[in-house]
């Protein structure tokens, strides 16, 4: 008897599923669901219906006389069947033998962050993402399993197979999945450049599996602000502090009185600033072709500087795949992006807007209101014709009488900053996949990564101080061009025989990186204003140009073999040979092998049933491999060439004082220069409990970076610089834990928790015998604040160790006598400086390790909850065990303002405190000591998000597949004991030796956002 059975197929969120195949078991008859998820089929009353849909678990239902059968399909969350992308191929997750972390599109769906690299923060163990600053568009630095190198430790980025210089051009909406190859065995297939880990990004493409099309649009608007962070001294505190510290030129009583609380420069500088983002994705496909078109727009204004710190990004993506013949697939992944940035100087203790806001005294007003009497020093400056800066209303900006030097009125500084950068970037590749015989596939692909960056800046006439002024209209334009191409060919063979299965891959790659630039500077243009600020409008004699090009090539051959027996015993091996033009002839080739193995213990017959009930999955794995890094070797670094760069002297003719050019070797040669090699051992285990609802992953690793490339240090008497040497070994080791729990997905209230924790240790284990310590970054004038030396952590903080505060003269006298010191004359209230080198002086020879910028642990925790249409996300992230050095207090600028706690916590007399010094503005024994080093531990709630997805019934009436609204608080709550602006301050990736020094960084703003995501 045939019945007509009707019903509806929905997904876990009760949304209708379109195109689900509904078939009768044992028959070829079938149908599929319509756009509302409904179906109707004629079926024998004793038959069985099978519901099949890609990505979901198939469901069978016996008809048993019913005429209405509705089903809810569950997504196929058998995680172990998922594939992960590995270099030059994919692997079933269950067969992976290395340490690979995956972040999928759905993890990023809720992100309110504009950059994919930032979105990786806290998502996975062993990956540290440090924002370099909170300013719009500023880059982040990513460290995988600690800093291996002491210069550039950025990982290698591979986007759809193409090596790219960075991933800042990707909008999170473009990403299908991100794989992070952490262990050497996984990364070894990228040989010479994989030492700092590899980030593989796969962008979204249209689906070819079924006739579908969809339009996704998301919109987000946010408001950024700065919380109440690090108060500075007010007018009274400032004046009293200077007075107590013996500074001479104090504000008068009248000035202090008139100022009241005084100017809060921080409030004056920071304001709320908007951010918005739109992303539109159109995709679809049929059996033969699929396409995806993506567009996005992002704009962020700065909380300091507004329009002068603005970041705009447009991206366009076109991905298609086409089956031309049964044996031939071709397609492309193509991305164009455009960035427009205006920027302010920051992260410098010398000339930045932020450091001026930190340093300027509270007595000086932001502006002198019209009609008020200008102070004498301002009228004097005006009388001598100096170009003082006015605000929009025509009022002169406040000019400090007390704090000068490089500092200036921060709002005035913003007004005179005229810098813009426009970048056009194209990244993409075209590919062809050819099926030669069954199991053997050949891929060829050609990709480019091209970026064209134009920077334009000019400076109007202005005067803040004798040092911070501009008396000539001047400007500069720079065009930097990168054009890199890569051509790769590889073949993959897969074969299963009986319980054995074998995969093999072999191929080659050629990569060429071209860079050229043209920089110009010009001055004395005809009138002040943007439209005159070009070289054509300045005298030809004032035009200068500079330019450069360089080219480097990398040739590679690689192969990989994988074997498994019943998916139970797993073995992988790979090797890559790389040749680089950056090294001297004869030293160009390097070889990078790796092996790894795994054992799925739970698949063994002897695995006890009783255990399997609870712990259903157990895998043990181990890997070893070697990688290289060339990032710190420039073109021709090894060679000692003769160059005229920078060598000129003025002649002695007063009538015609021209420069005479000279030429000399620019550096010492180092033909033995070789790869930085990273060797890594990884032992890991994976456990699934209760049908994988709890999944635990544990890894232990030891990563040794050998022949570390360091700036060469040779004795000065050798007579020239050694640019880069293979300086030593750095060892990172640690533990990584990842734990996920998902609640029963059939209940209305669902939740999941996932957390990760990394413990790491870092130290220098070997130094080039030519070297002892290497000086790192300096602070102010003449203080080396970071150092690199044997058995110490990478770029540790260097300075005076203190042991409390001298309370009285008797204590001082005793200390001097006990240590037999000469020439040391502290006052009560000064810190007790430890005589580290045991000589008879307290001097910079007593500098020792006073802090470690490297964290001991990092963690992330994500909580997801949903109930009916509502969803909630909490994502927090943190780290601990690292130190931050407060580096914006300059002793050579004694009258600069200071954080309020300098005043509140200060020593005020015998017995008042033993932890903070008496008022003091210029003592190196304080400002180069551990008193400036703070614990950098923090926990930040990156995101709190609440969303609502409208019921499909309601939406179906307006032809909308889904609609979700949400609001989110980003970076709103930070828990830290660091007393500066931002515990993440000073993570400048361009100078690894400066990590952890807070030079007055642009703090990470907090943000409130609202948005919607709609699918048609």
């Amino acid at each position: 008897q045939e019945l007509v059975v009707k019903g509806k197929v929905i997904d876990a969120q009760s949304l209708p599923l379109t195109g689900v195949t509904v078939s009768i078991k044992g028959s070829s008859k079938g149908t599929s669901t319509d756009v509302d998820g409904n179906y109707s089929i004629s079926v024998p009353s004793n038959g069985t219906l099978v519901f099949n849909f890609i990505g979901y678990k198939p469901v069978e239902r016996a008809v048993a006389g019913k005429t209405s059968i509705s089903v809810q399909l569950q997504e196929d969350v058998a995680a172990l069947e998922e594939v992960v992308v590995v270099g030059y191929g994919t692997q079933k997750k269950g067969l992976v033998t290395g340490a690979i972390s995956q972040v999928k599109a759905e993890d990023l769906k809720t992100t309110s962050i504009s950059r994919i690299d930032q979105a990786l923060q806290g998502r996975t163990a062993g990956v540290t993402v440090l924002p370099q600053s909170g300013s719009p568009g500023s880059p982040v630095s990513i460290r995988i399993r600690g800093a291996g190198s002491n210069q550039n430790s950025q990982p290698l980025y591979i986007i759809d197979g193409m090596r790219a210089g960075g991933i800042e051009y990707l909008d999170p909406s473009e990403i299908e999945s991100t794989e992070i190859l952490k262990d050497a065995a996984s990364a070894a297939i990228y040989g010479a450049e994989g030492a700092n880990g590899v980030v593989l990004i796969t962008t979204k493409s249209g689906s070819k599996k079924k006739e579908t099309s969809s339009i996704d649009y998301s919109f987000q608007i946010g408001q950024q602000s700065i919380g109440n962070i690090m108060p500075l001294m007010n007018a009274q505190q400032y004046t009293q502090y200077l007075k107590e510290s013996g500074y001479g030129d104090l504000p008068t009583d009248a000035e202090v009185k008139a100022a009241g609380e005084g100017t809060n420069w921080k409030d004056a500088l920071f304001q709320n600033a908007p951010q918005q983002r739109h992303a539109l994705t159109l995709s679809g496909g049929s059996e033969k072709s699929s396409y995806l078109v993506g567009l996005s727009y992002f704009n962020q204004k700065g909380v300091a500087g507004g329009d002068k710190a603005d970041f705009k990004r447009y991206t366009v993506r076109l991905n298609t795949d086409n089956k031309v013949k049964d044996w031939l697939n071709i397609g492309e992944r193509l991305s164009y992006s455009n960035f427009a940035t205006t920027g302010l100087a920051e992260n410098s203790e010398f000339r930045s807007v932020i450091s001026s806001a930190l340093a300027l005294d509270p007595i000086t007003p932001v502006t002198y209101p019209s009609g008020s009497t200008l102070p004498a020093h301002v009228t004097t400056a005006l009388a001598s014709g100096l170009p003082l800066v006015k605000d929009k209303n025509g009022n002169y900006y406040g000019m400090s009488r007390f704090v000068q030097g490089e500092y200036g009125n921060p709002l005035g500084l913003i007004d005179v900053t005229e810098t813009s950068t426009i970048q056009n970037k194209i990244v993409g590749n075209v590919y062809a996949d050819i099926d030669i015989v069954k199991g053997l596939k050949f891929t060829t692909r050609f990709g480019v990564d091209a970026a064209f960056v134009k920077t334009h800046n000019w400076s109007p006439l202005f005067y803040f101080t004798d040092v911070n002024r501009n008396s000539t209209l001047s400007g500069g334009d720079t065009q930097n061009n990168w054009f890199n191409w890569q051509w790769e060919n590889f073949a993959t063979y897969q074969k299963a025989f009986g319980s054995h299965s074998l995969t093999a891959m072999a191929g080659m790659s050629a990569y060429k990186a071209n860079f050229n630039n043209m920089a110009s500077s010009y001055a004395e243009f005809f009138r002040q204003g943007e439209k005159y600020a070009y070289p054509d409008f300045s005298p030809d004699t004032q035009d200068k140009i500079a330019g450069q090009y360089n080219t480097s090539t990398l040739a590679s051959y690689f192969g990989r073999v994988g074997y498994d027996y019943k998916g139970k015993y797993l073995l992988n091996g790979s090797i890559r040979a790389d040749g680089s033009s950056r090294l001297a002839p004869g030293h160009q080739w390097g070889y990078f092998p790796a092996v790894s193995g795994g054992w799925v213990m739970s698949s063994e017959d002897f695995f006890p049933e009783s255990v399997a009930k609870v712990m259903n999955y157990t895998k043990l794995r181990a890997s070893w491999g070697q990688n290289g890094s060339l990032a710190n070797i420039g073109v021709g670094t090894w060679a000692a060439g003769i160059s005229t760069a920078g060598i000129q002297i003025p002649n002695s003719d007063p009538a015609n004082p021209a420069n005479i050019i000279g030429a000399a070797p620019s550096n010492l040669p180092n033909p033995l220069l070789t790869w930085e090699t990273s060797e890594q051992l990884d032992i890991g285990a994976e456990f699934g409990f209760l049908n994988n609802s709890i999944f635990l992953e544990v890894d232990w690793y030891k990563k040794t970076t050998k022949d570390l490339l360091t700036p060469g240090v040779v004795p000065d008497y050798v007579g020239n610089v050694l640019t880069v040497v293979n300086g030593g070994d750095v060892e990172n080791n640690g533990w990584e834990f990842g734990l996920t729990y998902k609640s029963n997905t059939t209940k209305a209230f669902k939740y999941s928790v996932s957390g990760n924790l990394s413990l790491m240790k870092n130290k220098v284990t070997y130094m080039n015998p030519f070297l002892n310590t290497i000086n790192g970054a300096g602070i102010g004038t003449g203080y080396t604040a970071t150092m690199f030396s044997l058995n110490k952590p990478l770029w540790y903080f260097n300075g005076y160790k203190t042991a409390g505060i001298f309370q009285n003269q008797a204590q001082i006298d005793k200390y001097i006598a006990d240590n037999k010191l000469t020439g040391y004359a502290p006052k009560p209230g000064d810190p007790i400086i430890v005589n580290s080198n045991g000589d008879t002086q307290i001097s910079s020879g007593d500098h020792t390790m006073i802090g470690d910028p490297n964290p001991d642990f990092t963690y992330g925790l994500t909580l997801n909850m949903s109930y009916k249409g509502f969803d909630f996300l909490c994502f927090l992230q943190g780290q601990g065990g690292n130190d931050v050095m407060m580096g914006f207090n300059r002793t050579d600028r004694p009258s600069a303002n200071k954080p309020e706690f300098f005043f509140k916590d200060r020593w005020t007399g015998d017995g008042s405190t033993n932890t903070w010094f008496a008022s003091n503005t210029n003592n190196d024994f304080i400002y180069q000591s551990d008193l400036m080093v703070f614990k950098g531990d923090f926990m930040r709630i990156r995101q709190l998000q609440l969303g609502y997805t409208f019921p499909s019934k309601m939406m179906n009436t307006v032809k909308v597949k889904s609609l979700r609204l949400y609001c989110s608080l980003d970076n709103y709550f930070t828990f830290t004991n660091y007393k500066g602006f931002d515990p993440e301050g000073g993570s400048n990736a361009n100078a690894a030796n400066s990590v952890g020094i807070d030079r007055g960084v642009y703090p990470t703003p907090r943000m409130i956002t609202g948005g919607l995501a709609v699918t048609f």
């Binding site: 013996g246 030129d249 000068q404 030097g405 400076s459 004798d466 040092v467 002024r469 501009n470 008396s471 000539t472 001047s474 004395e524 004032q542 090009y549 360089n550 090539t553 040749g579 033009s581 073109v635 021709g636 060679a639 000692a640 060439g641 003769i642 160059s643 920078g646 002297i649 003025p650 002695s652 003719d653 015609n656 021209a658 420069n659 050019i661 000279g662 030429a663 000399a664 620019s666 040669p669 004795p715 000065d716 008497y717 050798v718 007579g719 030519f770 002892n772 003449g782 000469t822 020439g823 002086q841 001097s843 910079s844 020879g845 500098h847 002793t891 210029n922 003592n923 190196d924 180069q928």
Partner: protein, 483 residues
Amino acid sequence: CGKSFLEQDVPGKLPVDEYYKTDADAQLAITAVYDMNSADYFTAWGSRLLIKTMPSDESAAGGSGPGDQPGYQALDKLAQLDPTNGNMEIAWRTMYFTIYRANLVINNVKPETDLRKRIVAEAKALRAYNYLDLVSLWGDVPLILTEVKPEDYKKGVRAPKAEVYAQIEKDLTEAIPDLPLKSAYAVAERYRVSKGAAQALLGKALLYQEKWAAAATQFENVITSKVYGLESSIGATFSTYGEFGKESIFETSFSNAEKYTWGNFPWGNQPESNIHVQLMGPREGSYVKAPTDSLNNGWGFNLPTKKMYDAFEAGDERKKYSVMSLAELKAAGGDFTNQATWDYTGYWQRKYGTFEKATGPGGDSPLNYTTNWRLIRYADVLLMAAEAYYRAGNEGKAQGYLNDVRNRSELGSITPTGNALFLAIVHERQVELAFEGFRYIDLVRWGMAKTELAPYGYVDGKHNVLPIPITDVRTGGLTQNNY
């Protein structure tokens, strides 16, 4: 993708073995030696002039506080002077970098033409000039005459002073015949080492070794060459007019040709202007210049001591060209508002002054001082000659040269004898050569440092030489002085 794919050019760099071949190459190579020889700011602050001046009793470091240029501060106060001194290390580095470039010229340029012969001689004289600075500031120092091989980078050896002096004498003796008189150089080339400069330098090296008669002979050669003379006043000598003038024997040249602005000044590199002049101007913020004066403000370093100010005799016109007191500043209508600034002495030096005329036009004026360092000038040679003759027993000649120098500055002739004559020479060097970087080395070699410099932190047997910079001890394996 084979070998050729990996062969890529190194842009802009000529392989070393294709260089030093022609006259043009030799010109470029010797210019590079002069370039480094004049690098008082080389990647960082490290003025040879200040390294030599700070330990003396002429001036205090100054600046904004003890954290401002801590290296110069420690060289001034001496108690904190130690091998980690950054400013001192830069000065040491520029000397050896100059020697490295000179060695390449001497060892690679074949003296086959007159020009190349002269250039090799210039290189030898420049090498000697640097070794004389090294040996007089640090004592025994590594004597590097060829390129150091990588395997020897950490095997540094300090040659005994006598060996260093022997090399200085050898280089100069070889150079003198091949060097032209200063007058034979075109005006634009007078920054080059001349025969007179090499003779004066040789005389100085002999004087420092107390080879009195031989020293006197060399100074006499300079004097009788008739190429040099004294300017009308020391003010003229140190004005822009006096640069490469008749009193100039050897001088390093700075220019404003780059018209630096705050936006493009090559911090961390090697500017062509003399930024140390700006460093030595009266401290901005407090200094109010007198209406008719052209001494701009600066960063307040190198503040003269009262002892220096008081050393000038009444009527010595050098005083007004060398030092200015607060009273004089106020009398002229200027002021200095914050007398609690660090190291405040109440005096400012005007010899290498921040004069408006010595900077610009174009660019930001603090960054474009053109003031040349007078490394050897005729008055110094006259006084060294006086000293050498006195020691050699010819008091008449000594008095004559001493009085030549006094008379120029409106002071009458004097005729002391015996030790009084010596003390007169000591005094004359103090006031004539104030702030020119000679006083500390002179006091040490005369054995007078332990008395004269004691109030300034000088410890005998220690501060008679500077500490060897820490890098060269650590990575180069050099032994340390008494620090």
